[in-house]
Amino acid sequence: MNPQKTLLKVEDLRLYYPVPGKKIGQLEYIKAVDDVSFEVKEGEVFGIVGESGCGKSTLGRAICKLNPPTSGKIVLDGEDISDYGSRQMRAVRKKVQMVFQDPYASLNPRMSVFEIIAEPLKIHHLTTSKEQMKEKVLDLLRKVGLDDYHANRYPHEFSGGQRQRIGIARALAVQPKLIIADEPVSALDVSIQAQVLNLLNKLKRELNLTYIFIAHDLSVVEHISDRIGVMYLGNFVEVGSKEELYQNPLHPYTQALLSAVPVPDPTAKKERIILEGNIPSALNPPTGCRFHTRCPKCMPCCKTEAPACHHVDGTHAVYCHLYDEKNKA
């Protein structure tokens, strides 16, 4: 991939949720996102995979400040938005938009499709006349594969896939540069998932969009992404281009995750790595490497020291002691 402009740069991002601690008046923190850094280039699809509770959705929401981060730096399109308050963020929202997971909950049931898609146009005063607004809304509807007559309908009359198209049209209305799609197809039926994935791909090409695509389904993420980050308990364990990551997974967690995906082929031979136990609580994450409690290749140093980032080559980075210089020999 040719060197492109960096659209989003995230540095040391943290998002801690305070929860009441064991003693009265004391607070403990759920470290949902802990010290995450990454970059997204213009025109690429950056996939984030991980299991539930790994903080991938929180990370997506932290970037567009739907859940305000605790600390860290976010630079979007050359603009440092780290310290922006909610008023300043309103202007930024024209550049970054979200598509939500549950298409049944993300549309206001009391608004018609027209009102839903027109809302961002009204908020940002993007049209000057009623006719222009109508034209714009119908144009957006057609872009996502719906028809003009759908505009007067209400969300409850649509199927899940159609509602997700409405959600996408609403996000496109402000002509954003970056779209954060949080599990946009996981609530949909298999045959509909493919339609929405194709639509996202088509829109990306036509409108020159950049996506951050958050999902738990490894096959879906592989299909749509250029680069992928694997998250575990609040931080990335491995980041790389999809070819590198899927063909040569380095982190034991990535390896286990990939081996656990059921393959729709009964003749396929499976060398499955079954991970023991469950994801530990983000309230008291394990010391050292966070994965060490479930890691099949755990070493003594994993329990005490957090692993550093190892750049395997230009795009592939892994956080694991197995790739420390002293362990390589």
Binding site: D189, E222, Q247, P264, L275
Partner: protein, 329 residues
């Protein structure tokens, strides 16, 4: 092919729901046979009638507007449709038991795990309380949960999602039922936990010889655990075959479409072959083949009349006009 006993036969099952806005034909002519010790997969998307089929077999429709209008469900050769409520209750849990998708909603939140498991035994078997407790503990140990003694005294909310699903499986198997119905048992779980549960179900099949009806939308899961597969669409079975045959020679256009529309690990395609359109609204069911409006091969005939099953040999049957004529001519 070795001949096994048919433990469950469903013949021409029709289950309709009588709602205020008309009759919904959720299951409209379903036939299949489950052999002893085998796992039969029922694949379909939402609205295909796969879950209603399960509820019909379990006799759990009494409190809904649903009714079995026609057809037979033979359990060990005995029709269980005309049985009384009390007789059906005797069968449930004892001869047929079920695992649900969301374990939290099917466990009683205010009862300890041990109590829930033993209650199940005490209802169907004449054993002492201590004996029941011992049986329950043993079953729970078989599902591979750690610290069984402690877990017996815990409440559902203290367990993780994977542990709850294991408890559900233990509960379903504790009375040694003839048939286990698993309705999307891994859909709510993470990939690594799903791998654990699928592994467990395969082990239990080998060790205990349970006959399982496995309902899912995930073809990957089907390939991992099932021996035979039934594909459902709009309340009908459209294709039936053993698992190797089905994945090697999918014949019905819907089955093909499903297989093609899911992204597969390691596959590089720009566009997925999506099935166009949506599942038809039950109020506007098409006249002929229910899949015709979304089918790329549909002809005039498909829109007018519904095809019957064509036997393709090796127990592979398909409900499509194209096979009837012999091939895709």
């Amino acid at each position: 092919m070795e001949s096994r006993k048919n433990i469950l036969e469903v013949k021409n099952l029709h289950t309709y729901f009588h709602t205020s806005s008309g009759i919904v034909r959720s299951v409209d002519g379903v036939d299949f046979t489950l052999q002893e010790g085998k796992t039969l997969g029922i694949v379909g998307e939402s609205g295909s009638g796969k879950s209603v089929t399960a509820l019909s077999i379990m006799g759990l429709l009494d409190d809904t507007t649903g009714r079995i209008e026609e057809g037979e469900i033979l359990l060990d050769g005995r029709d269980i449709v005309p049985l009384s409520k009390e007789e059906k209750r005797q069968i449930r849990g004892n001869k047929i038991s079920m695992i649900f998708q969301e374990p939290m909603t099917s466990l009683n939140p205010v009862m300890k795990i041990g109590q829930q498991l033993t209650e199940c035994i005490l209802q169907h078997q004449k054993v002492s309380k201590d004996e029941a407790w011992r049986i329950a503990e043993e079953m729970l140990r078989k599902t591979g949960v750690p610290r069984v003694e402690r877990m017996m005294k815990e409440y559902p909310f203290q367990l993780s999602g994977g542990q709850r699903q294991r408890v559900m499986i233990a509960m379903a198997l504790v009375c040694r039922p003839r048939i286990l119905i698993a309705d999307e048992p891994t859909t709510a779980l993470d990939v690594t936990i799903q791998a654990q549960i699928l592994d467990l179900m395969n082990n239990l099949k080998r060790d205990i010889g349970t006959s399982t009806l496995f309902i899912t939308h995930d073809l990957g899961v089907v390939a991992e655990v099932c021996d035979e597969v039934v594909v459902m669409y709009c309340g009908r079975v459209v294709e039936k075959a053993d698992v190797y045959e089905l994945f090697a020679h999918p014949t019905h256009p819907y089955t093909k479409g499903l297989l093609h529309s899911i992204p597969k690990l390691g596959e590089r395609v720009d566009e997925l072959e999506a099935i166009p359109g949506n599942v038809p609204n039950p109020k506007y069911m098409p006249a002929g083949c229910k899949f015709a409006p979304r089918c790329a091969y549909a002809t005039e005939k498909c829109h007018q009349a519904e095809p019957a099953f064509t036997d393709l040999g090796n127990g592979h049957t398909c409900r499509c006009w194209l096979c009837e004529k012999g091939g895709m001519a």
